[in-house]
């Protein structure tokens, strides 16, 4: 079985207007960065991979993850994690409950609590279980969002401009953390970004999309 995220002949169009075509394999631990101006369909590509493509777009081509064709799988059965530029922590749940939402089911109560505590400790947030996510700083929220995603044991990670809301000092720190965690878990990573610095830090192949006319 071939590990990794393989995009085969992916074509996305907005009605009659073709947006992008892409064929690329991302090996475990590798990062593929996609750059390009807004409106070129970067986020639409991610929506196609997560299974949440809006009815306004048409797409074809196959998405294969770790040997499974997930092109038509429902969104919640794809094992594809995603981080957006906003943390999108669930505002009605505590930090711990947010992580528990992500944590794959199974295990005793104590096991699960322990896993959540470990995850928080891994990003220097030990003891934050009962906190209201709205009271966290931007960097703390980003770290919780990352760990929530990783606890769901995804087989690939998508990043949609994930660092653009963070200020410069935090940005490098969070970025290094995300790439390090993804590498440690051997996840194929697909990142779309505007930012050349992000692309450099990712260290993988960079594809720049042009507006098709």
């Amino acid at each position: 079985m071939n590990k990794g995220l393989f995009l085969r002949n992916v074509e996305i169009s907005n009605g009659a207007q073709p947006l992008l075509t892409l064929s690329h394999d991302i090996a475990p631990g590798q990062v593929l960065t996609i750059m390009g101006p807004s409106g070129v369909g970067k986020s639409t590509l991610l929506a196609y991979i997560t299974g949440t493509l809006s009815a306004d777009f048409a797409a074809s081509g196959r998405i294969v993850l770790d040997g499974h064709d997930i092109t038509h799988a429902p969104a919640h059965k794809r094992h594809v994690g995603i981080l957006f530029q906003d943390d999108l922590l669930f505002p009605h749940l505590s930090v711990g409950a947010n992580l528990a939402f992500g944590l794959a089911p199974g295990g005793t109560r104590e096991d699960r609590q322990e896993k959540i505590a470990e995850a928080l400790a891994e990003v220097d947030l030990a003891g934050f279980e009962d906190r209201d996510p709205a009271t966290l700083s931007g960097g703390q929220k980003a770290r919780v969002a990352l760990m929530r995603m990783l606890l769901s044991e995804p087989c690939a990670l998508l990043l949609d401009e994930p660092f653009s809301r963070l200020d410069t000092a935090l940005r490098a720190q969070v970025r290094d953390l995300v790439f390090a965690r993804a590498k440690a878990r051997s996840l194929p990573v697909l990142m779309v970004t505007h930012d050349a610095e992000d692309a450099r830090a990712a260290g993988g192949k960079v594809i720049t999309l042009e507006v098709q006319s």
């Binding site: 997560t50 299974g51 074809s60 669930f90 009605h92 794959a104 209201d132 995603m149």
Partner: protein
């Protein structure tokens, strides 16, 4: 490549069928909801048309004939009754829209406006009947205002012999409608303003030397009006055909056409139903005509408005207009508030002779006398309202979720469908619905009443919930799905909890609308379903102010309490969740 395309599409369709087979209910909900909402309206109009043309098998009559219309035109009160419907309806709509527009033009974004807005929101839920009784108790010759001013300022030691309440021109009835429509139109306009980026336009207009009011009218009003058009039409149709307010405040010889239709409907002589049906068709025609007239007026205003904009006039009397608007808005708020206060006083009043500002003493006797029957009516009211509002909430959430999951698009035409039950006058289709039900031998009573309430509650609940439901960040759903939550899981565990506040508000709107329903309860309940509203309006002719005070207060409480809960519950539940504490 093309071959692959086709395979993908076929796969997609297969998947679609699979989802539909597994969840057959959700995609059908929008259709079912439309049927529940529009079915009774269509059936009711059909059931009105038949007897209007002389076909009423229950009374041994078969049509078609024009006899009912001939009888209608023979009724000497018709010209006056029809004219009253038109003047009070158009008058109430013009005045409330003008006050609301100028209030927004002069004051939106200011501190005074926020105070007014905060006062107006709860007033929206005060039932029409209670507000009308309150107004009557304030401005009648023996009302509170006359009492407060007498005898020092007026010299009256007995109530003056002038007809204020139930005046022949229907002016008091118009006032009763205006004080209730102003809060409605203001809150609708504020919602529309949010999408219009109004503040920027006004700032630029002011920088170009325009006065506040003129600048707002020229730049923001067209955008806001385009959005509030359907509710304005609702106000017009409602004001022309309202029954409860007209019974309480309107003239009686003759009454408005709608009131007369209800009188004919309650006549034991079945053949009077033919007359009622003909009147109902007439009422429908009047409303359609008035809506067409209003549309023509819109075009005319737009035409002159464009000229006014092109003239470059900067506005000279803006401050005066703004002051007048604030005064009118304030007076309308105070009329409702003090109306409720005087209802409360009467409900506990002992002996209260005329020029005295307050009763001689306060007593609980009114409550012990009228309380038991009022509480029985409260039970009936609450039972109907809760069943209806919860069913409607479930239907609404189902429709909105179906729209989200299946990527359905809502067109402007569909939005008009939602307003349709509010645009067709109640007096045009409810009598027909009752006649149809009698014709097929269906029992009048509680369940048909609930179905009739549903027709009117659905649009309001849907309109209240749809914006916040659709404004929810869909990326939150993407994240939850990426974390392994199924579509139902996303709905129950993420979306609904996050939307707790707007959901409870929509539920409160539904309860308040159901509590305030008069005509559906009266006609479809066949007089056997006694709610607070039907009981209170029935007291109007008797003039027992203490009983009216008790019923009016309970009716208001029944409508207001859910709103208080809708504010309180999310605050308590999410007291430790700053992210959900906006507002």
């Amino acid at each position: 490549m093309i071959g692959q395309h086709v395979t993908v599409l076929r796969n997609k369709r297969d998947l679609g069928t699979l989802i539909h087979m597994r969840r057959p209910v959700l995609p059908l909900l929008p259709a079912l909801t439309l049927l529940l909402m529009l079915g009774p309206v269509a059936a009711g109009i059909w059931g009105t048309l038949l007897p209007a043309f002389g076909h009423l098998p229950a009374a041994g009559l078969t049509g078609p004939s024009l006899e009912p219309f001939r009888a209608l035109f023979d009724w000497p009160g018709l010209p006056r009754a029809a004219l009253l419907s038109v003047t009070t309806g158009i008058g109430a709509t013009v005045v409330s829209l003008a006050v609301v527009t100028l209030l927004l033009a002069g004051w939106s974004g200011t501190r005074q406006f926020r105070v007014l807005e905060r006062l107006l929101s709860p007033l929206l839920s005060v039932p029409h009947a209670a507000a009308a009784f309150g107004l009557a108790f304030l401005i009648a010759p023996s009302g509170w205002i006359a009492r407060l001013l007498s005898p020092v300022m007026t010299g009256w030691d007995r109530p003056p012999d002038i007809l204020i309440v139930q005046d022949p021109l229907g002016l008091t009835m118009m006032a009763g409608l205006i004080i209730k429509e102003i809060p409605f139109l203001i809150l609708i306009s504020i919602a529309a303003l949010g999408q219009a980026q109004a503040q920027n336009s006004v700032t630029i207009a002011q920088a170009l030397g325009y006065g506040r009011v003129t600048g707002w009218l020229k730049t923001v009003f067209p955008r806001v009006y385009a959005q509030i058009r359907p509710p304005v039409y609702v106000v017009l149709a409602y004001s022309m055909s309202v029954v409860d307010v007209a019974v309480i405040l309107g003239p009686s010889t003759p009454p408005t056409l709608s009131v007369q239709i209800v009188k004919w409907m309650s006549d034991p002589d079945l053949s009077m139903r033919l007359l009622a049906a003909a009147g109902a068709i007439m009422q429908l025609a009047l409303v359609v005509g008035a809506l067409a007239f209003w549309r023509a007026g819109e075009i005319a205003v737009a035409h002159f408005g464009r000229r006014w904009v092109a003239s470059g006039a900067r506005g000279k009397c803006d401050p005066i207009i703004a002051q007048v608007a604030l005064f009118s808005g304030g007076a309308s708020v105070l009329a409702v508030l003090f109306g409720l206060v005087v209802l409360a006083i009467w409900s506990v009043a002992g002996y209260w002779s005329f020029p005295d500002a307050f009763p001689d003493g306060f007593t609980s006797r009114n409550w012990t006398r009228h309380g038991p029957s009022a509480f029985a009516a409260l039970g009936e009211t609450a039972f109907i309202a809760i069943v209806v509002a919860i069913s409607v909430l479930v239907l609404t959430i189902g429709c909105l979720e179906a729209e989200y999951r299946h990527g359905l698009r809502v067109t402007q035409r569909a939005v008009w469908l939602l307003y349709l039950p509010l645009l067709v006058p109640q007096t045009a289709f409810l009598p027909g619905l009752q006649t149809l039900m009698l014709g097929i031998g269906a029992e009048v009573g509680r369940i048909p009443v609930m179905l009739a309430h549903l027709v009117f509650v659905l649009p309001y609940v849907f309109l209240s919930l749809s914006d916040p439901f659709r404004a929810w960040d869909a990326r939150t759903g993407t994240v939850a799905a990426a974390l392994g939550a199924s579509p139902d899981g996303v709905l129950w565990r993420v979306r609904l909890p996050m939307l707790l506040r707007p959901i409870l508000t929509a539920l409160a709107v539904g309860l308040a609308v159901s509590v305030g329903q008069y005509l559906p309860t009266l006609l479809i309940g066949g007089g056997r379903v006694a709610t607070l509203t039907t009981e209170a309006v029935a007291l109007a002719s008797g003039g027992d102010r203490r009983a009216i005070g008790v019923y009016g207060l309970m009716q208001t409480g029944a409508a207001l309490l859910p709103f208080a809960m809708a504010l309180l519950i999310p605050t308590l539940v999410w007291r430790n969740r700053k992210g959900l504490r906006h507002e």
